[in-house]
């Protein structure tokens, strides 16, 4: 394999591993703030127990996110020097703003949030929790701005092949940014909702009868059931936005070869790029036209429009985009079905008496958010190929000339470490859940509520 492909796989592996953890910390930060505020308002111990359990998982996820993120900033230089040399004038300030407005904020206040509870006033601790959550969201904002600009660049001019920024407002608020940002933030919310519901379900199955577990199951299910329709809507809008700006990507997502009206929604197929057709296609007539153009005879772009005169395709490889899109949608549908069924069961049985079958289902879906998020990112990122920055810089022009053997060896190194760490990460989360289910105390300290003396916060027997 050549340096280009290996570098792509390596960057793909790094960013896939990295995104798993911010996806959790972005929304979990806000969830922890919610737990804290609920405790301040109600004084019920269960909220603080929930906070104490989930803050551990937050800390672990945060550390994983930080160290895997450092890798990315170096790989721009080690593997993709052409990226910064060509679009550095745009990408640079965006990354710089991420570091100075988000990274330092979250890193410093994380220390206070995690270890400072006994050293600062309760409101300072709540403020630190807020600033960490705010920092993670700011970080998501800046990196999504950059990523979206790479898909839908504007507000720049080319001088001697180098991009110069002309309009920062246009760069930041580029056409795909709002859709992508909302889609990603909702994805984070769903990932966390299912993680919380799943781990709580697991603890209930292990016989944990703590109030906090019932509460977090309820919170997880309600959050999931509320967010998933919003996400489907946001995804649809994002798809229409992509149709407008990157039609080749949509053609690959739909597995549609010829531009035309009355295009079916392909449920399953094996796209064959040699023959330029689908095998074993199962589709719903007019489905794609209806979804993308909202009428049965709407014209949907086809992949054959994106082929150079000499026959080289100017569209992404079809199969990865086609399948990852379907995996994302299928996961989303499963989320919809399970969370709404969960909502009904909550009303019927309550969180404490939920039957085992749905609890197993939630436990099995604990990390479903990861699958959907990765599949979604593969769809949009592979779908941008052969471009690195749509219409400006092709991926092959940005890669470094490091020997392929060197890239291969580091790639293997990264993959081994990532595999070990994923196993350890999931292992520790289940271990913490198991430990908590055995009733091992999460904390011995009496928590003060904001503005109250320490003793008054709890009643005997709680």
């Amino acid at each position: 394999m050549d340096t280009l492909l290996l570098s792509r796989i390596q960057f793909g592996a790094n960013i896939s591993f990295h995104i798993l953890f911010p996806t959790i910390t972005i929304a979990l930060g806000w969830m922890l703030l919610f737990f804290k505020l609920r405790f301040s308002v109600t004084g019920e111990r269960k909220w603080m127990d929930a906070y104490m359990f989930w803050v551990k998982i937050f800390a672990l996820s945060f550390a994983m996110g930080v160290v895997s993120g450092i890798t990315m900033s170096f790989q721009f230089g080690t593997n993709w020097p052409g990226f910064m040399e060509t679009v550095g004038n745009v990408a640079g300030p965006l990354l710089a703003y991420e570091v100075i407005t988000a990274f330092f904020l979250e890193a410093v206040f994380l220390g206070i949030m995690l270890f400072g509870a006994s050293r600062v006033k309760p409101w300072v601790h709540t403020l630190a929790t807020f600033l960490v959550a705010f920092g993670t969201t700011m970080s998501a904002f800046w990196i999504i701005v950059l990523n979206s600009w790479m898909h839908t660049p504007q507000g720049y001019e080319l001088r001697d092949g180098v991009v110069f920024a002309t309009d920062w407002w246009a760069i930041v608020f580029n056409p795909s940014m709002p859709y992508r940002l909302i889609h990603m933030l909702l994805a984070s919310g769903l990932t966390v909702a299912f993680l919380i519901a799943g781990i709580s379900a697991l603890r209930l199955l292990w016989g944990d009868r703590a109030e906090s577990v019932k509460t977090t199951l309820r919170v997880g299910i309600i959050a999931a059931a509320g967010l998933i329709p919003l996400q489907i809507l946001a995804g649809d809008f994002h798809g229409l936005n992509t149709l407008e700006h990157q039609p080749a990507k949509v053609a690959a997502m739909e597995g549609n070869w010829e531009t035309g009206p009355n295009i079916p929604l392909v449920l399953f197929a094996l796209p064959d790029e040699e023959a330029r057709e689908n095998r074993f296609e199962i589709g719903i007539p007019n489905g794609a036209s209806l979804i993308l153009k909202h009428k049965a005879d709407g014209v949907v772009p086809g992949l054959n429009d994106f082929v150079a005169e000499d026959g080289t395709p100017l569209h992404p490889r079809v199969a990865p985009v086609f399948f990852s899109f379907r995996i994302m949608v299928a996961t989303g549908m499963a989320m919809l079905a399970l969370s709404w069924a969960g909502l009904y069961l909550l009303r019927r049985y309550g969180a404490g008496a939920m039957p085992d079958v749905p609890l197993y289902a939630f436990a099995a879906m604990s990390f479903s958010g990861w699958i959907a998020t990765l599949a979604g990112w593969y769809t949009t990122e592979i779908g941008r190929q052969p471009w690195l920055v749509q219409g400006v810089l092709s991926t092959k022009d940005a890669v470094s000339d490091v020997p392929s053997g060197m890239v291969l060896s580091t790639l293997i190194g990264y993959l081994v470490i990532y595999a070990v760490l994923i196993v350890a990460y999931i292992g520790v989360i289940t271990y913490l859940a198991r430990k908590a289910s055995r009733g091992e105390s999460l904390s011995s300290r009496v928590y003060p509520r904001s503005g109250e003396a320490e003793v008054a916060a709890l009643h005997a027997g709680e």
Partner: protein, 336 residues
């Protein structure tokens, strides 16, 4: 922008200064927490927890200075960023793996089942070692002009060892300030060994740098520059003597002057760094590309600078707040 003179001159200079400042802050801050990681195998089981507790609230923010430094390189001098990092491909990889290992070990050692704690302690040490060694190696290669010849690699390996021992020194100095009792006494002992890494490292680079290029030699050894610059080595020498004297008197009754080794070590790092900056200026890639050739467009730099001017004081402010909140001797790390 004419108000400030030529922006193609002062902006690259400002960004080089900012980048230098972040590298220096990084080397001092992550230096001490990497150093504490390096000292892990020397501590017993209970002391290990205290070692980690002394850096637990800080390490993440400390590492962010590395992201800022590399970010500024990437942002302000894009071509240099590519050249430096592709030529240091493997050491960068080793450093990143080290930082990953050590960062996650902080969490895993405390949260994984007790039977695995030894393993994560080992990963914490190995990660710290990989990060320190590769940073020292990169420093040596940079001084040698980023060319891979046998003698350059040998020199880089030497600086790798010296920087690692130097980090262990500043780590020990941190522990002298942040611990008490038997552990503090042991930290004094570790500092007595580690100081040699600092001395030999600074010595090796000071001796080698002028001979790498005649340009740097002339910058130091022509008159009258030689006289103006002489306070730097003299001050460094005085600081080293002061450190020796202090360390041999510590620990003192009532914990007096427990911060003095750390403060002196910071000053020494800063002096050594200033010397290097003086040597290499105006080059960002040694003897190849100056900061003025490599600089990004002034418009882009300007927009970053505006943000930085507003945000940097805030960052320094809340960083100081964090050190203030966790002042005093390190205590057990608790979430509640």
């Amino acid at each position: 922008m004419t108000y400030f003179g030529d922006s193609a001159i002062w902006l690259p200079w400002t960004f080089a200064a900012l980048m230098g400042l972040s590298i220096l802050i990084y080397v001092i801050l992550d230096g001490f927490d990497l150093g504490v990681g390096l000292l892990m195998p020397l501590a017993d089981e209970q002391e290990k927890d205290r070692l980690v507790a002394s850096i637990g609230p800080f390490w993440d923010a400390n590492e962010t200075w590395l992201v800022l430094a590399i970010g500024l390189l990437l942002v302000a001098f894009p071509p240099a960023h590519g050249i430096i990092l592709t030529s240091l491909y493997l050491p960068v990889f080793i450093m990143l793996v080290g930082l990953i290992l050590r960062g996650v070990s902080f969490e895993f050692r405390a949260k994984a089942p007790l039977s695995q704690k030894k393993r994560w302690n080992a990963a914490f040490f190995i990660g710290s070692l990989m990060a320190s060694m590769s940073q020292g190696f990169m420093l040596g290669m940079y001084v040698m002009g980023l060319t891979w010849t046998l003698s350059h690699v040998a020199f880089a390996l030497l600086t790798a060892v010296f920087l690692t021992v130097g980090y262990s020194f500043i780590g020990a100095a941190w522990l002298i300030a942040k611990t008490e009792g038997a552990l503090q006494t042991r930290a004094v002992g570790w500092a007595k060994g580690g100081i040699w890494g600092l001395i030999l490292g600074i010595g090796a680079i000071s001796v080698a740098t002028p001979f790498v290029s005649p340009r740097i030699f002339d910058k130091w050894f022509s008159l009258p520059e030689f006289l103006y610059l002489s306070p730097m080595p003299i001050l460094s020498g005085a600081l080293v003597l002061y450190l020796f004297w202090r360390i041999h008197k510590l620990p003192q009754v009532g914990d007096k002057t427990a911060w003095s080794p750390f403060a002196a070590a910071m000053a020494l790092f800063a002096l050594a760094f200033a010397g290097m900056a003086y040597s290499f200026y105006p080059y960002v890639v040694p003897e190849q590309i100056t900061i003025y050739d490599a600089a990004a467009a002034p418009e882009s730099l300007f927009i970053i600078l505006i943000g930085t001017l507003f945000v940097l004081p805030a960052i320094l402010g809340y960083t100081a707040l964090s050190y203030y909140i966790f002042r005093g001797k390190a205590t057990e790390l608790r979430y509640d």
